[in-house]
């Protein structure tokens, strides 16, 4: 589904990604861990197409197409979803309206008719239940006045609405209390199918208790320096990154 080869990206003169290789297949869950500043969020942003970053080398194939050539919205319509670490507020734009446009843009791209108002409302009700999102929130402006937990739930709600092929969740667990974490993680797990894939960026093993990864990767200084199965996350939780970093010679 996603194949990243030797991806280099920089912001200004500063190179942040320095040769990422990663392959994600349908039905898989990948966790990306690593110390602060190692490039985890940058990887997510670059895959989504954020133009703050310049790709200087490498190739990314998504669903058989050159991802890097596609504009941001087309990547999204093709089924790439980014769960934001810091979701922005859009004052005055209701969540319902925002989602209606997003869902119908995707349907248009797939050659489907737009949803009727009734169909859309039904879909919203169904999907907001996945993350126990208070239905009142969908009447409010996008992320405006949402608590930290509500914002993250809202990201997963949008993921549920858009049914992406590949979801990249950028530190979805940060700032969540135990209950919210459980709800968000359970939501993600419930959305998992054999046809879609998830990349979870996280600092903490506890998220992975709920979202069980098939692969765990450690990102350090812009490269994946180690990959393993879910036991790697447990080991990192206990021992930190030092043993890996010390092992890693540039």
């Amino acid at each position: 589904m996603l194949k990243v080869e030797n991806l280099h990206a920089s912001v200004g003169d500063k190179e942040i990604l320095r040769g990422i290789n990663l392959e994600v297949k349908a039905g898989e869950v990948h966790a990306i861990m690593g110390p602060n500043g190692s490039g985890k969020s940058t990887l997510a942003s670059v895959l989504a197409g954020n133009e703050k970053f310049t790709v200087t080398a490498g190739e990314v194939t998504f669903m058989g197409e050159n991802l890097l050539e596609l504009p941001i919205e087309e990547r999204a319509r093709k089924g790439l979803f980014l769960g934001f670490q810091y979701p922005v507020e859009i004052p005055g734009v209701s969540m319902a309206n925002f989602m209606k446009i997003a869902v119908n843009e995707k349907r248009k791209y797939e050659g489907l008719e737009p949803l009727t108002a009734a169909e859309f409302l039904r879909l919203m009700r169904e999907k907001s239940a996945v993350v126990e999102l208070d239905s009142k929130l969908t009447a409010r402006a996008v992320n405006e006045g949402f608590s930290g937990g509500e914002k993250k739930k809202n990201e997963i709600f949008q993921m549920a609405m858009l049914e992406p092929k590949l979801s990249i969740l950028d530190e979805t667990d940060s700032g969540l209390d135990i209950d919210a974490l459980r709800i968000v993680a359970t939501g993600v797990t419930r959305l998992k199918t054999a046809e879609n894939a998830t990349v979870v960026i996280t600092h903490y093993q506890r998220l992975l208790d709920y979202i069980v990864p098939d692969f765990v990767h450690v990102l350090y200084k812009g490269r994946i320096i180690y990959s393993g199965d879910k036991s790697l996350a447990l080991k990192l939780e206990k021992e930190g990154y030092d043993w890996l970093i010390n092992d890693y010679k540039e």
Binding site: F84, P87, I90, F98, L162
Partner: protein, 481 residues
């Protein structure tokens, strides 16, 4: 982001003004220029009584002594007032008895604009007094309104049919001597609308007028007079679109509203005159004087969505003369490319316990300049007057300007005045967020701008609000970069 947006700009810049077309209709025009002879000719063509011609001539003579106002934050090219045609009317083939007799060309124009003149209007509950160039072509729902004693007709007809009413109120709120453009309008106004709501009558439908400049090189001088007698209510809609053309067009309208004791008037405008091309060539110059007078317990609410015109100079105002009267002003003014707008309101508190509320949302894009100019005046006798003002500016890009000139003149210590102002920009993070959800940058900007303007749009009648939302999005096309 830059590269992507540049592509969008390039693709959109090739788009033409959506409503840019002209209709071929035989037009009867007077020669260019302005003198007493022209003023007399206009009055004669309209078959006006002597007092009306005298009024026009007085206004014209006064106008000759006046000079152009220069205080606005506008760069106005020289206007040659002798190079303008002051009167043009679509020439009807014969007297019109029914809709079937209306010029098919004219009907097509209205259809292109999406103005439903016939059954659709009945369903929507809107009566239309359609003004094409200078002569009212058709008035609908006249009979329904007549049953309630409501008069809704062209101002020319009102001058002929209801001379006492017109004579009593015309110029009573906006005197011809008020300003340069009001004097010009009083001298040469070609047509417009008149509306009278009798005592205690609640107008059962939204009254709606569509204006449209059509004859090439014709200035449009509309005159609107609305009188809401004691305890009455009316909601009035004004909307305009103008066809594309090269030379500039002058538009100097006057709207006067009299709100008698315990009456209420809502006046909503969507203004979409041709704004000029992306280099700033052409476009309508819009110099409008709008003012209402509120008697005791009266209420006047102005709502405007301004997206068009190359130059906008417009300050819908409320004179709160009666005790406990209320004035409101809700405005969205959007400028793009080289458009300039200097708009706002005046709230003149004369009576006791008078209240006013101002919500102004400016949106500037391209290389445009957008100014809010407001005056809140509390007279010495206006005990316990209150005003709340909110002036927000939204900037799109880094080549435009947003300016705020709020004036407060308070002569009474019991007054309470509040003023809030914000300036914001559409952030790249917001656009990225929308893009990531599959929403194009163009749609995202429309969405964000409509969200920003929501508080004002919510004040518009339903069908107008939808049109206004579309307009905001259309007017911003190609503005992100």
């Amino acid at each position: 982001m830059k590269e992507n947006n540049n592509d969008i700009i390039t693709s959109l810049e090739s788009k033409e003004y959506e409503y840019g077309f002209t209709t071929d209709i035989e037009t009867e025009t007077l020669p260019k220029g302005l003198n007493e002879g022209i003023v007399r000719a206009i009055s004669e063509k309209k078959g006006e009584p002597e007092w009306m011609m005298e009024y026009r001539l007085k206004a014209f003579r006064h106008w000759q002594t006046m000079s152009l106002p220069t205080w606005a934050h506008l760069d106005i090219p020289d206007i040659d007032f002798q190079d303008i045609i002051y009167y043009a009317e679509p020439k009807p083939k014969k007297k019109l008895g029914s809709m079937d007799e209306v010029d098919p060309e004219l009907k097509r124009t209205f259809d292109k604009l999406g103005i439903p003149l016939e059954e659709q209007m009945a369903l929507a509950g809107v009566a239309v007094d359609a003004v094409m160039d200078s002569v009212s072509v058709k008035t609908t729902f006249r009979e329904t309104l007549a049953e309630k004693g409501i008069i809704f007709c062209s101002i020319s007809e009102a001058i002929r049919e209801y001379p006492e009413l017109v004579r009593k109120y015309l110029g009573s709120v906006v005197s011809y001597a008020d300003n340069f453009y009001s004097a010009l309008n009083a001298a040469v106004f070609s047509d417009g609308s008149f509306c009278y709501i009798p005592k205690g009558v609640r107008c059962p439908m939204e009254l709606s007028t569509y204006f449209r400049i059509n004859a090439k090189g014709t200035g449009q001088f509309e005159r609107t007079l609305i009188v809401a007698d004691e305890g009455s209510y009316v909601s009035y809609l004004e909307g305009c679109t103008a066809p594309q053309r090269d030379e500039n067009q002058l538009h100097a309208a006057v709207v006067e509203i009299v709100v008698e004791n315990n009456a209420e008037v809502k006046y909503s405008t969507v203004q979409n005159w041709y704004p000029g091309d992306k280099e700033g060539k052409g476009g309508v110059y819009n110099f409008v004087t709008k003012r209402g007078l509120c008697r005791e317990n009266a209420r006047l609410s102005w709502t405007q969505v301004e997206t068009g015109s190359a130059i906008t100079w417009k300050y819908p105002s409320c004179v709160l003369a009666g005790d406990n009267s209320v004035g409101e002003f809700y405005s969205v003014a959007m400028t793009n490319n080289y458009q300039q707008a200097d708009t706002g309101t005046k709230m003149i508190h004369l009576g006791r316990n008078t209240r006013s509320r101002i919500v102004s949302k400016g949106i500037s894009a391209g290389r445009s300049q957008n100014s809010y100019r407001g005056l809140v005046k509390i007279a010495p006798k206006a005990e316990n007057a209150r005003n709340y003002s909110q002036c927000d500016s939204l900037l799109i890009g880094d080549k435009c300007g947003a300016h705020t000139f709020p004036h407060i003149d308070c002569r009474n210590k019991t007054a309470m005045l509040e003023h809030e102002a914000t300036t914001s920009k559409i952030s790249e993070d917001q656009l990225f967020y929308c893009n990531q959800r599959g929403i194009s940058t163009e749609d995202a900007v429309g969405l964000i701008v409509n969200g920003y303007a929501k508080e004002v749009l919510a004040k518009l009648p339903m069908e107008f609000a939808v049109e206004a939302q579309k307009l905001l999005a259309i007017s911003l096309e190609g503005s992100v970069g």
